[in-house]
Amino acid sequence: MAKIVRKKHVLRIERLAGLLLFTACLLSLGSSLFLGSFNNALSMKLQTFEEEIRTLEKYNEEARISIQGLSSKDRVINMATEDGMVMNQGNVVTVVDDGE
C-alpha cells in the first residue's frame, strides 16, 4: 500500500513539473514573440523620435542662420539709409554690460 502511495506521489510531482515546464515553454515562446515585436515597435518609435529631433535641430539651426542674416548690421543700416536716416557718429554711445 505504502509503495503505491509513494508512486502516486512521485507521479504527481512529475506531472506538475511537466505541466510547469510546458507552461513555461509556452509562456516563454509567447512572450518572446510578443516582447520581440514590442521591442521592435519601441525601437522604431525611438528612431522616429530621433529623426524628428534631428529635423527640428536642423530647422532651429536654419532659423538661427536666418535670424543672423536678418539682424545683420549692414542690412539694418541699408534699410535705415533707404528710408533717409543718417548716422551721427558723434551721438553713438557704447553701453558696456558690466554684469558679464
Binding site: Q47, G69, S72, K73, Q89, V96
Partner: protein
C-alpha cells in the same frame, strides 16, 4: 511450419522494410532539419560548404558618412564669425524613365518653363539653364549658382513645384559678418570631400586644427529604414574640428570699418588701413583695411594685407623712435634749445654729416619742415610736438650718432618679421647708407616699414619699455569640452629696447602732441578721456624711381589711451591725393577712439566736467533707495535725510514743518530723483519748472492741487507764470514740454 515459416519470414521482411523506411525517413528528416538548423543557427551551408556569416552581415547593409563640422571661429566675446551651415544643391533629373509614384512626374518635363522660372531665383542666364536641362543625361546640376543655396533660396525654388527639380544637402562655410577682418580671418572653400579647406588667413593657418574627422555609420534596416533589434549597426561618431577664439572684438572691428567708410567718403582715399591693439599684451582687437572684401562673396580686388605686406615710408610717426633713442641713450636734455629752421648739411667723406649754415659753400643738401615752417630756437620736446624734420635731423647729428639710431631701430624690430600668427608679411627696406638716407629716416622717410612693425615698436613707448608681439589667436578649444584648451596665447615680450623712464618721458611729450595748442595731433582729442599720440604725413614716392612727385600722400596717426596709463593703441593710415585737412577732419578716427574709450570703460570725468557749467565734477553712483517718511518732521530733519540719499529736494511753501511729501514714504526712489516737500498750504511760490518731467509736474500738482496744463512731451521748456511769484489754487499753470 513452412507456411508458418514463410509467413514469418515475409512478415519479418516487411517489418524490416518498414523499419528501414522509418529509419531512412528519420535520417533524411534529420539531415534536412540539421541542414536547416545548420544554415539558420550555424550560418553554414553544408552542400556548398559556404560560411554564410559574411553574406548575412552584408545583406541590406547601408553605409553612410557622418560629416564632421569644421570648427567655429569666435571673436573675443564668443560671437561666431565663421561657421559651417547647412545648404542645398539643386539636382535636376532629366531621365524620362525615372521611377515615380503614379501621377508624379519625376523628371524635368518642361525645360522652357523650368529654366524661365529658375533663372531669376538663381541669378543665372535662362538660356544657360535651358542648355543644361536639355542635355542627354540622367541628371545634372546647375553649376555654382545652383550650389550652396540657403534655406530661403531652396524654399523659394521648392515653392515653384517644378517637376524633376530636387535638392541634396550640402555644407557651406559661412561668415555671418561678411567683411569682418577678411585679411586676418581668411576663408575656407568647399573641397571634393563635401567639406571645406582653408584657403587664406587663419582659416588656412589653422586648417589642421579646424578640420574635423568624418565618422561613419553602417547598418542594416528594414524596408522602412528602421534598424531593428538584432540588426547590425556600427556607428563611428564624427570628431568636429577644434574651435578658435580670436583676439578681435567684433564691435570694435565694426567701428574700424565704419571709420574706413567715413574716411573713404571724406578723402576719397586709395587705401586705408588701421588696427587697435592692447598695449600690455599685444592682443589685436581690430585690424582691417579698405578696400576689403566680403568673405561670403569673395570678390577680391586686393590680395595685399596692407597691415603686414605693404611696406611704406611711415613719415613722422617714426620720429618717436628717434626721440626714444636719444632719451634712452642719455643724450637728451629737455632744457637745451635747438634751431628748428632749415637744416643744411655737409659731409665728411666718411659717411658722416654735420649741420652747416644755409649759405655755407660746403653744404650738399638741405631739408625743411613741412610747409617750410620754422619755430626758431625751441626745446627739443617741441620738435616732436610740432613734428619738425629739422629737429630730428639735429638729434642724429648733435645728440646721438646715426649708428646709434640704427641700432635702436633694430632693437625696435624694424626691417625684421614680427612673426605674427601665420600672417604673411613683408619686412620693409632699409636705406641707411648715405647721409641723405640717414637724415631722412630720422623723420621716417627713405626706408619702409609695415604697420605691424610700427605697432610692435610703439608698444614699448606706450607701455613700460618692453616691446610686445601682436597676436590674433587667443585660444584653440576642444569643441566638446570648453575646459579643454588646446592652445592658449601668451604675451610675448620681444625685446626691451628702452627703459621704463624713457617710455614715461616719451608719453609726456606725446601728450603735448595732442594737448599743446600747436600740437599736430590737437584735432584728435576726444571728450571721453585724455590721449597721447603722434601724427604723420608722408609723400608717397613715385613708382618711376627717385622723387616724391606721385602727388599721393599717406596721412597716419598713432594714438594711445588713456594718457595716464596707456592700455590701447590705435594706428590709422590712409593714402590718397594730398589733402591739407587730413589731420583736421578727424571725425572718422575720433569715432574709433571714442569707441575704444567707451567699450573698455576708459571714460573719465573730463566729459562731465566740460558739460557742467560750474566746472564741478559730479560723479554720483545711481542707486535704488527707499523713500523715508518726512511728514511731521522738521524741514531741517527732512533736508538732512534727503541729502544723505542724494535726492533733489523741491520745497514748496515757507513753513518749517513737513505737511506732505511726494513720493510717499517707503516707495522706491533713485539717486538724484526729485522729492517734493509741502511745508505750507497757502504761501506757495511758483518754482522754476524748466527741465522738469511730466512725472515731476504731476507730483507737484498732487501735493498743491494747483491746476497744471501740460502741452507736449519731454521736459518743460517754458512756463506761463514767472518764477517766485505767489500762486494760489485759482491759478492755472501752463507748461510747454519738448
Amino acid at each position: 511450419m513452412t507456411v508458418n515459416n514463410l509467413n514469418k519470414k515475409a512478415i519479418q521482411k516487411q517489418i524490416f522494410m518498414i523499419n528501414l523506411l522509418k529509419l531512412t525517413t528519420v535520417v533524411v528528416a534529420f539531415v534536412l532539419v540539421a541542414n536547416v538548423f545548420l544554415v539558420s543557427v550555424g550560418k553554414f551551408h553544408l552542400n556548398s560548404t559556404t560560411d554564410l556569416t559574411k553574406y548575412i552581415s552584408q545583406a541590406n547593409l547601408k553605409n553612410e558618412k557622418i560629416k564632421a563640422k569644421r570648427g567655429y571661429i569666435y571673436d573675443r566675446n564668443g560671437v561666431v564669425v565663421a561657421e559651417d551651415v547647412q545648404t542645398y544643391d539643386i539636382i535636376c533629373h532629366l531621365d524620362k524613365n525615372r521611377l515615380a509614384p503614379k501621377g508624379v512626374v519625376a523628371y524635368v518635363d518642361d525645360p522652357i518653363k523650368t529654366s524661365k522660372e529658375l533663372a531669376p531665383l538663381l541669378g543665372m542666364d535662362e538660356m544657360k539653364i535651358y542648355e543644361l536641362l536639355t542635355k542627354d543625361l540622367k541628371q545634372t546640376e546647375l553649376g555654382t549658382a545652383g550650389r550652396k543655396l540657403s534655406k530661403e533660396e531652396m524654399e523659394a525654388i521648392d515653392a515653384l513645384n517644378l517637376n524633376g527639380i530636387e535638392f541634396v544637402e550640402s555644407i557651406k562655410r559661412n561668415y555671418p559678418y561678411g567683411e569682418f577682418a577678411p585679411y586676418v580671418l581668411g576663408f575656407a572653400q568647399a573641397n571634393d570631400n563635401q567639406s571645406s579647406t582653408g584657403v587664406m588667413g587663419i582659416e588656412l593657418y589653422l586648417d589642421r586644427q579646424l578640420t574635423g574627422i568624418d565618422g561613419s555609420k553602417s547598418y542594416q534596416s528594414d524596408n522602412a529604414g528602421f534598424i531593428l533589434p538584432g540588426m547590425k549597426s556600427e556607428i563611428v561618431d564624427a570628431q568636429n574640428g577644434d574651435d578658435v577664439i580670436l583676439t578681435l572684438d567684433l564691435s570694435l572691428q565694426e567701428s574700424l570699418e565704419t571709420s574706413f567708410e567715413m574716411t573713404m567718403e571724406r578723402f576719397n582715399s586709395d587705401r586705408i588701413w588701421g588696427a587697435v591693439m592692447e598695449i600690455d599684451t599685444g592682443r589685436m582687437l581690430a585690424y582691417g583695411q579698405s578696400p576689403g572684401f566680403d568673405l561670403n562673396e569673395k570678390e577680391i580686388t586686393e590680395y595685399t594685407n596692407y597691415g603686414s605686406q605693404y611696406p611704406y615710408e611711415p613719415g613722422s610717426t617714426m620720429k618717436a623712435f628717434t626721440y626714444a633713442a636719444a632719451i634712452d641713450s642719455g643724450a637728451y636734455d629737455t632744457n637745451v634749445l635747438v634751431d628748428s629752421s632749415t637744416y643744411c648739411y655737409a659731409v665728411d667723406g666718411k659717411g658722416g654729416f654735420y649741420r652747416v649754415p644755409t649759405n655755407d659753400g660746403r653744404k650738399v643738401g638741405c631739408i625743411n619742415n613741412a610747409n617750410k615752417k620754422s619755430w626758431g630756437m625751441i626745446p627739443y620736446d617741441m620738435g616732436l610736438v610740432y613734428s619738425s624734420n629739422t629737429v630730428t635731423a639735429s638729434i642724429i647729428d648733435k645728440l646721438i650718432a646715426p649708428s646709434v639710431y640704427e641700432d635702436y631701430l633694430e632693437a625696435f624690430g624694424f626691417f625684421q618679421k614680427t612673426d605674427v600668427d601665420g600672417i604673411s608679411e613683408a619686412i620693409g627696406t632699409k636705406n641707411y647708407r648715405y647721409p641723405a638716407d640717414k637724415i631722412a629716416l630720422s623723420y621716417g622717410q627713405g626706408s619702409t616699414v609695415t604697420m605691424l612693425q610700427l605697432m610692435q615698436g610703439y608698444s614699448a613707448i606706450f607701455g613700460d619699455g618692453q616691446m610686445v608681439k601682436p597676436y590674433f589667436i587667443e585660444q584653440i578649444v576642444d569643441p566638446y569640452d570648453d575646459q579643454d584648451i588646446k592652445y592658449q596665447a601668451q604675451t610675448t615680450i620681444v625685446n626691451d629696447p628702452i627703459t621704463q623712464e624713457t617710455a614715461q618721458q616719451m608719453q609726456d611729450i606725446l601728450y603735448q602732441v595732442i594737448y599743446d595748442e600747436k600740437g599736430t595731433g590737437r584735432f584728435y582729442k576726444i571728450d571721453e578721456t585724455q590721449i597721447i599720440g603722434k601724427t604723420g604725413t608722408t609723400q608717397v614716392a613715385s613708382l618711376s624711381g627717385a622723387g616724391y612727385n606721385s602727388g599721393k600722400t599717406i596721412a597716419s596717426v598713432m594714438l594711445a589711451l588713456p594718457y595716464d596709463d596707456p592700455k590701447y593703441m590705435i594706428y590709422y593710415a590712409f593714402e590718397g591725393d594730398y589733402d591739407k585737412n587730413a589731420h583736421f577732419n578727424t571725425e572718422a578716427i575720433n569715432q574709433l577712439t571714442r569707441k575704444v574709450a567707451q567699450l573698455y570703460n576708459l571714460t573719465d570725468n573730463i566729459n562731465s566736467a566740460q558739460e557742467n557749467e560750474n566746472d564741478e565734477v559730479i560723479d554720483i553712483k545711481i542707486t535704488d533707495e527707499i523713500m523715508p517718511n518726512l511728514v511731521n518732521h522738521t524741514l531741517e530733519y527732512s533736508l538732512k535725510k534727503t541729502e544723505e540719499l542724494n535726492l533733489d529736494v523741491v520745497i514748496i511753501g515757507n513753513g518749517t514743518q513737513v505737511l506732505s511729501q511726494m513720493p510717499i514714504a517707503d516707495s522706491n526712489i533713485k539717486t538724484n530723483e526729485k522729492v517734493f516737500i509741502l511745508t505750507d498750504n497757502s504761501n506757495i511760490m511758483m518754482p522754476n519748472m524748466l527741465g522738469w518731467t511730466r512725472s515731476d509736474v504731476t507730483k507737484f500738482w498732487s501735493l498743491t492741487n494747483i491746476a497744471v496744463k501740460m502741452d507736449g512731451y519731454g521736459k518743460v521748456t517754458s512756463q506761463n507764470i514767472t518764477e517766485n511769484s505767489l500762486i494760489s489754487k485759482n491759478d492755472e499753470i501752463e507748461l510747454i514740454l519738448e
